[in-house]
Symmetry: C2
Subunit: 338 residues, 2 copies
Amino acid sequence: LVERYLARYREVTQQAILAALPSKEPRRYLYDPVTAQITRGGKGIRPALCIATCRAHGGSVEQALQSAIAIELLHNSFLIHDDIEDGSWYRRDRPTLYTEHGTAIAVNIGDAMYALSMRPLIENLVVVGPDTTLGVFREIEHMLLQSVEGQAMELGWIRDNVCDLTTDDYLRMTLKKTCWYTSIHPCRIGALVATGNQMDLDRFNRFGYFVGAAFQIQDDVLNLVKDRGRYGKESMGDIWEGKRSLMLIHLLNHSEASDNERLRAFLALPRAGRSEREVRWVADQFTRYGSVDFARAVARELIEAAIDEFDVAYAVAPPSEDREFVRSIVDYMVQREL
Amino acid sequence: LVERYLARYREVTQQAILAALPSKEPRRYLYDPVTAQITRGGKGIRPALCIATCRAHGGSVEQALQSAIAIELLHNSFLIHDDIEDGSWYRRDRPTLYTEHGTAIAVNIGDAMYALSMRPLIENLVVVGPDTTLGVFREIEHMLLQSVEGQAMELGWIRDNVCDLTTDDYLRMTLKKTCWYTSIHPCRIGALVATGNQMDLDRFNRFGYFVGAAFQIQDDVLNLVKDRGRYGKESMGDIWEGKRSLMLIHLLNHSEASDNERLRAFLALPRAGRSEREVRWVADQFTRYGSVDFARAVARELIEAAIDEFDVAYAVAPPSEDREFVRSIVDYMVQREL
């Protein structure tokens, strides 16, 4: 069910984005890379959550589609800028956009996807009327601001080599960086366009937070585990970047004095000064000190909390395949392998 | 008159932006640099054009203020990303934001100013009602897309070392990169919020194009002339960057074979490979081949055209100080020294 619905809603969103892209110059420096970025696509979790939540509350695909398009475009804008900010070389098993086109053009392409998200938000007017259209703009505004705040925290921690972080710090940052735009707002907006301004949208906040945080932790675990067998700079990017994952925070707080010193010495180096040997050593410590197990356990707890919250969030949605899909996506978040 | 009105409308816009900034974390990595960026400010031409055009058509400062704020925030977002894209070290006689905070955090701060521009556009609702609010969103959407298209052209020409460009290419790129967001849309939006959807806004397009293009050419000339006495990498940044200014395009099309070859060899180098000696040589060629005089002459022609078009664009605006201010800003565009 999960795979089928994800594929269906990803397809309808992707096709609508591609159909709406301007067919004009500048192609080579703008619209061709934008098309390539959209065509490659991702899992489409965000537009799927938006469309399914809309349908689960009596709405249609059409009512949610413009908002889903905007969310997916903004997501891609974030990804392009994130990869520049993190210095990531690979995404979805391909070179990142900025390594292919250069930083200058890639920053601008990220801006372009931001700009492109505005049209569908205006197009909402025809489908859902002016009140709901402006309501969606309010949701998007909150979503954008939360996302840049979370991103600022994560980047600041890396730049200033902040090491005294707790699980709470991590979850607060992840709520901002990931949860609002990945799960909370897609659900809120889906219900908003289905029901007009009739519903208390805050009912989705806790559910979306638990799901989004579990998603992010799983993402961090996969970044490590998937690449464990590989060698070179394409593997274990999060460690190379000094990313404050839940695993790194756990390790900083639980490793013995001598290991802790070595870990801090590693993190104090600029990225270019880090060696593959030390990166692999850090990965080994994650296993040795149970940091990966800890992260997995937190993700499972969040998933359990999300399952409880699902009944609250979707209390007024009658039984339907779309409702069931959203329910099933919760487990999918930690079972997925990519 | 120009200086007085610019100062007045810049002040009201800046104060409103600062008052609306979230007073919360993350300060150090986000809101402090945003505040610093806004406090330093620029000339405030864009919000001034928007507010003055609104008042000239019977509107109030209040009717235009939220849109003016959004335009100024987006302008700052562009500047921050531009400096990263161009590799510029200095702006407004200070180190650029990314040299101070690092590229990662600076990209995110640019995104944040983009995100912050959405609130005032929604706030419009209270002041000008839903139709005009959505009308302003439509204007902003067009403005953003044109700007990223123009930026893509300029960056692409530099990256691929495109040398077969004409004055027409330059003006087409400048219309997109500069004119829509610097002059055309500020005027259009000012009239829109003053009159509701009653007016044909296209009347401002030619006027705004001529003014904006003259402004950009003057900007390029000043980048060269102001810095002519200075030494080092902070001076003549446009030449270091290989920026396709009207002067460079003129020189490429008019220098003798041996000089032309040397110029193309210079442009074929990566930025880091260019020497100060060669940069100064290029600057000398601009004088020798009359490229600066040519650019100045084109700017003057554009100013004359703008003066003619002013009467068309502001035909329905009765005499007022605000109307006179907009008329006077035309000459100011090429007389300004910074």
